[in-house]
Amino acid sequence: MILGGILKLASSALGAQSTRIRVISENIANSDSVYSDGKTPYRRKVTTFEAVFDRKAAIEQVRVRQINRDPSDPVRRYEPSHPRADAAGYVQYPNVQPLVEMADLRDAERSYRANVQVIETAKRLFRNALDIMRA
């Protein structure tokens, strides 16, 4: 694989990771949204990736396959004074757990940084090769 291929591959991974970070930030921002479609509370979104072989560049790129909704049940809290409270006094909150989202965010950040490091190394290899001509 030529160095240009490495850059393309790493940049595809950066794009996928930034989408993941955007989805996580959506989850965190909506962790208290009891209205989503007018009926149910917001449901947590989960990003999944897939490797796709790019024949033109002869590299296996990474892209977002889909952004799914987490099917787990909403969190029920007893708040009888809340306007969304049911007859029993319970309010359905989104199935977003800030701890899980923060852990996922750190993992995404770590992967993003690793891909940036790959780009830095590819640039260094390219510079090494160019420096030979200066000698």
């Binding site: 694989m1 490495i6 790493a10 996928a16 992967s111 190394t121 000698a135």
Partner: protein, 126 residues
């Protein structure tokens, strides 16, 4: 091109290709079921064990390139870790490999420059 230059060119190409494999591993680190890939042989082993029909590269001294345990030619899947993404890619291992590739590439480039300098010295005589 003399033998040393040829060998160094091959080494740089090999390092570039290995860098590609590491980059692919890092990019796929969050894909469930993905496996880390690396060359089956080290560069030293690869040049001693050429593909059929190809002549091996000559090394002027057996001590110049030491065999390394991990390492070219055929690619294999590594099965050594299971992480949170349910795959077998360890970012820490890949970062170590990347640092190693960077250092080795720098070393090969320096040797290439020195070799070119020696050739120039021979031609100019000073």
């Amino acid at each position: 091109m003399n033998n040393t230059s040829l060998l160094l060119t091959k080494a740089m190409r090999w390092l570039g290709q290995r860098g590609g494999l590491v980059a692919s591993n890092v990019a796929r680190a969050d894909i469930p079921g993905a496996q880390a890939r690396d060359f089956e042989q080290s560069f030293a082993e690869a040049i001693r064990d050429p593909k059929p029909g190809r002549l091996p590269s000559s090394v002027t001294d057996a001590r110049h390139i030491l065999p390394r345990p991990a390492g070219a030619g055929r690619v294999h899947d590594e099965k050594n870790v299971i992480n949170i993404s349910r795959n077998q890619i360890s970012i820490e291992d890949e970062m170590m490999k990347l640092a190693d590739i960077g250092a080795q590439h720098q070393m090969v480039a320096n040797i290439y420059r020195k070799n070119a300098g020696l050739l120039r010295l021979m031609v100019r005589g000073r």
